[in-house]
């Protein structure tokens, strides 16, 4: 399937661009992370600490074990600092 993958804050800086279309068979967010981390050194740096990685699937906050079936957009970012 084709997924829109978005990056924010220092993940975006490490990856080098804010979004990309990714073709993947990943079943979960965690599988997608593994695929992305293996793709470029920038991606590897962006995903080097899964403990601080946050994600949203189709604009809902979720976790690495979330399934991707039917998903269209996955976003990755560091812990949020709003307010």
């Amino acid at each position: 399937m084709a997924l829109e993958v978005l990056y924010f804050a220092w993940l975006r800086e490490r990856v080098g661009h804010p979004r990309e279309t990714v073709t993947t068979d990943a079943a979960t967010v965690r599988d997608l992370v593994a695929q992305l981390a293996a793709s470029t050194p920038g991606h590897a740096a962006a995903f080097d600490d899964l403990a601080t990685l946050r994600c949203a699937v189709d604009q809902k906050l979720t976790d690495l074990d979330a399934p991707l079936s039917g998903a269209r957009e996955v976003a990755f970012f560091p812990p949020m600092t709003g307010g």
């Binding site: 924010f8 804050a9 949020m80 600092t81 709003g82 307010g83």
Partner: protein
């Protein structure tokens, strides 16, 4: 009962005009850019445009139900914000003060660590540092 995300400054007085009619208690929280080091030029806030406003609206509605609010409002800025300027505001209106206070505190604790904003401090020399999330902000959320 509105949530807005914008780059422009907001005017608390204008936001509160006709806010919470019929309520007995109105609480507001306003967050301002603070320069702790004396080296900061501004704050820059990035957000997730496709997600932010709806996430804020959904959470405001959840708070309204939980605390039986007569009214609520969230305004959060993004982009570059100067020292001393307003970053965001929350307002809550309820019959009694405890609900208005609790709802505002709840919304703030949620905004700090669940709303898709990321702050970066811009120093006077042009260097930029992403603000780290505080462990205390997660703890604050677990109160609710």
């Amino acid at each position: 009962m509105t949530a807005r995300v914008q780059t422009a400054p907001f005017d608390l007085a204008a936001e509160l005009r006709d806010f919470g009619a019929g309520a007995g208690a109105v609480v507001t929280f306003t967050g301002l850019v603070r320069d702790d080091t004396g080296q900061m030029a501004a704050l820059e806030i990035e957000h997730y445009p496709e997600m932010t406003e709806r996430a804020l609206s959904d959470f405001g509605a959840a708070a309204a139900q939980r605390f039986d609010l007569a009214d609520w409002r969230i305004v959060h800025r993004h982009g570059r914000i100067e020292i001393g300027d307003q970053i965001m505001m929350v307002a809550t209106a309820a019959r009694h003060r405890r609900a208005a206070f609790d709802a505002a505190g709840y919304l703030m604790d949620w905004l700090k660590s669940r709303a898709p904003f990321w702050k970066r401090e811009i120093a006077r020399d042009g260097s930029a540092t992403w603000v780290q999330a505080k462990a205390g902000d997660e703890d604050a959320l677990s109160r609710w």
